[in-house]
């Protein structure tokens, strides 16, 4: 694969990674092919858009400003993004402050006469108000359809201001795969922020994650490595220097595939070619790969032994309680596959999975990064439905399987609760990574299953918004070409 940084627009996942959002089958079939055609639905519920995921990263940079060129409703995600940003800074002991965000508030007249003048004014205001080190200017459906020249305006102001003013093209209608928004944000960072390394720093490792900088800390400290956590909570200056790290590690291809591959191709920062550290075997493999690259093979073996010793007692206790319990997993592609490793390591059974999308290849086309392969080879085949975050399908499946627990992400957990199924949210802060993460995750499951009083109350006093007819149909019967009664 090649990461093309010459154009403002990122190449879409549909063509770049042959990503699909509609499929029913199993992991073995998905692994055996990379040309499965996408299947559309004749009924859909609200999804997400790439502009939303762009904000997931760009608003979380400490000293960059974001100007969103669109109507005010496109800013609906911003109040909660601000909450996540403030929580992240608070946890880390950093200065707690609001996100540096402006919206151009396009109105009806702008859709007729164009919103270019307003955009220029907003970018100037962003500079005056926030004194940022860089300004990201993002697009929306409305601004893209009316055809405002966002890259042109950005280029002119970049020259005038002497700081990067970056057109980040992410209008929602352009792609069916909202994870493309992560790529758009990372594309902008690679194109305009990251600078060539002045000097490589032999103990520095980039960690692509969200707002949870502390996760790998203890392990990295034991190995004598410094972690550079990107993108959320970083400063622009830190992002400029991510080229100076030896390697990049990530935990979710959906989030980090493009950035990791781009750093390798354009800045010589190796991507760690190992599965994300979910479950014991994957954690071993990832740490060994890191050890090899940083020449710390012996230290890694010691860490693996000591980390396993630390969790041994708890793991045995949790396995005793959870063995044989069933789980349904609904999450983004690679992360859902990763959660399977956790569930299996805890002795549980996976009755089914719904993933939001499936990338049929990764930006760094290396099989060691393929967690689906790792999962199937380590834990055996499992059922997969690719459901584009469609709540009606996930609810239907949970109702059919009646698992002991539903593990979901991005989707409201209340739907499983209304079915009386204990549900935990594998949140934006995957504290379930590495050895101690397995214990934290297992404890959450055990707590959810052991006293489901709240869930039972919810189920008893509420109703799902679905017809009984729908709950009896095949989960994927609204994929085009399928039949329902």
């Amino acid at each position: 694969m090649s990461i093309n940084l010459s154009q403002p627009a990122v190449e879409l996942r549909e063509s770049r990674l042959k990503t699909i959002t509609g499929y029913e089958g199993d992991a073995a079939e998905l692994l055996s092919r990379n040309d499965i055609p996408n299947r559309e639905r004749s009924f859909t519920q609200c999804g997400s858009c790439s502009a939303d995921q762009v904000m997931n990263l760009l608003t979380q940079i400490q000293d960059a400003a974001v100007v969103e060129h669109g109507p005010a409703g496109c800013a609906g995600d911003i109040p909660m993004r601000n909450g996540v940003f403030r929580t992240g800074n608070k946890r880390m002991g950093y200065n707690v402050h609001n996100v540096k965000y402006l919206n151009t508030n396009l109105d009806e007249k702008d859709t007729i006469y164009g919103g270019g003048t307003k955009l220029e004014k907003a970018i100037r205001e962003a500079r005056r108000r926030f004194n940022p080190k860089a300004i990201f200017v993002t697009t929306t459906c409305a601004s893209a359809i009316i055809g405002d020249d966002v890259p042109g305006i950005c280029n002119e102001l970049e020259e005038e201001f002497g700081i990067p003013v970056i057109a980040t093209l992410c209008e929602g209608f352009r792609t069916n795969i909202w994870a493309t928004g992560f790529d758009s944000a990372n594309h902008s960072i690679l194109r305009k922020i990251v600078k060539p390394a002045r000097q490589k720093q032999p103990d520095l490792i980039n960690v692509i994650s969200f707002e949870h900088k502390f996760l790998y800390e203890s392990v990295f400290r034991q190995l004598g490595l410094r972690a550079n956590h990107i993108v959320p909570l970083s400063t622009v200056e830190e992002l400029e220097r991510i080229s100076e790290a030896v390697a990049t590690v990530q935990y979710c291809e959906t989030l980090g595939s493009y950035l990791a591959a781009g750093l390798e191709e354009h800045f010589g920062v190796l991507e760690i070619k190992a599965p994300a550290p979910f479950g014991i075997k994957a954690s071993d493999e990832l740490l060994r790969e890191i050890g090899g690259i940083f020449h710390k093979e012996e230290e890694v073996e010691k860490v693996i032994i000591s980390e396993k010793e630390k969790i041994a007692e708890d793991l045995e206790r949790l396995r005793g309680r959870l063995t044989g319990k069933t789980a349904y997993i609904a999450a983004g592609g690679p992360l859902a596959y990763s959660i399977i490793a956790l569930v299996k390591d805890l002795g549980m059974e996976v009755v089914g999975t719904s993933v939001w999308h499936h990338d049929q290849r990764y930006d760094n086309d290396d099989e060691r990064l393929n967690f689906l392969r790792f999962g199937v080879e380590t834990y055996g085949n499992f059922k997969v439905g690719v459901c584009n975050k469609q709540a009606f399908e996930v609810t239907n499946a949970i109702n059919k399987y009646k698992p002991d627990i539903a593990i979901t992400r991005h989707l409201a957990t209340v739907w499983a609760a209304k079915l009386g199924v204990p549900s935990i949210f594998a949140g934006n802060e995957p504290t379930e990574m590495l050895y101690d993460g397995l214990i934290r995750f297992g404890q959450s499951i055990d707590d959810a299953i052991s006293n489901p009083a709240y869930i039972k109350n919810v189920a008893k006093h509420s109703k799902l918004p679905y017809t009984d007819w729908w709950l009896k149909q095949g989960t994927y019967s609204f994929l085009r070409g399928e039949q329902n009664d």
Partner: protein
Amino acid sequence: MTEIIQGPRHGCALGAQQTVVAIERAIPILHAGPGCGSKLHRGLSLAGGYQGAGYAGADAIPCTNMVEKDVVFGGTDKLRDVIEGTLKIMDGDFFVVLTGCTADIIGDDVGSIVNEFREQGVPIVHAETAGFKGDAYKGHELVLEAIIKQHLKPAAQIEKGLVNVFASVPRHDPFWEGDLNEIKKLLAGIGLKANILFGYNSGGIRALEAIPAAQFNLVVSPYIGLKIAELLGEKFQTPYLHYPVLPVGGIETSKFLRTVAEFAGTISEQTEKFVVQQEDEFYHYIVRAADVLTEYRLNQPKRFYNINDASYALGFSKFLVNELGYFPIHQFINEDVPEEYKDAIEGYFKELSPEISSDITFTQDGGAIEDKIRSIKALTAPLVLASSWEFDIAKEISGLHLSVGLPIIDRLILHHTYVGYIGGLNLVEDIYTRLLSKNRE
């Protein structure tokens, strides 16, 4: 040209989806981009005190998720499929199709698709709610207008004592459900049956269909709901009472109840007894609070800013001035108020009490609000009744901050209300709990 926005609050017209979700067993259907519904749910409901998905909100909302080929070729066929699917899959009594920017810019003929279903007897209406048309208050009025024009029929008989209430905007104003239920209880006390339309036990489509049977419509807000009341007047000849002040506390609530009872013709010894008793109970607790309210070692915030929509800013200002003896510094009205109402709203703030008035600024831009606050020298540490966007500016001026307007990301709000006698007590408790915990923890 509309102003740019820092610290976004009130979404866009497609936020009308929240109004539909608040109607029991109603299902919104969006003909819009893939991210609109989720963003608006988070911005208006989740960031409004963690309101949750509701019956068919959040990721359960049917949506065409318009992509590039729909922009190029039109999305009406897709919309027809999604409506058909909705009727099979979603268990609802009433369906409302709402369009977003993409559908409205490319000009999809949504009306004729929706008509195909209406002709088959499906209870379905549609509203053009493109985001660029205005904020979610505008969307709320657009969807109510659509329901009235496309679904409601004249009543066979007017039901004496039935009153439609247009006050706190559902699933947008974080306290809407507590507020509407409090108004319902208060009106019951003066012999009226409130049709609150939204939220728990409000009646769903039956409540909507009962609108034309009401004796009168009651608008409790400086302006939101006025257009609806006027439309209902034209269409069903229903009279309306406009009470511009959201009643908070003893004085204003008693005045409100007496005004409404007078208008409704229910005023009697019995209603007067109810008002007097409620007021008496309110002051029982207010008196009990005197030791804290007159305590000056805690750096009492005797001056205040409101940063909120017009309705709450006015209701709270009246309460603080007339019940607690506070002084207004400057008030910020942060929704997209239509020009035609601005003079009247300024007038309401001119007469907070016979002696005390407040200047106000209409702005949706948090940056402009912060600039203005920084330019004012406050005599004492002020009370900042605002949103979660104002944590930092409140700290900067050593103010006492309480999140009472969208977005509220630091409180879980279920049935809490600031309306009525109980609402006034709640506000006093919340302000002084904040003050005490700041000083004592």
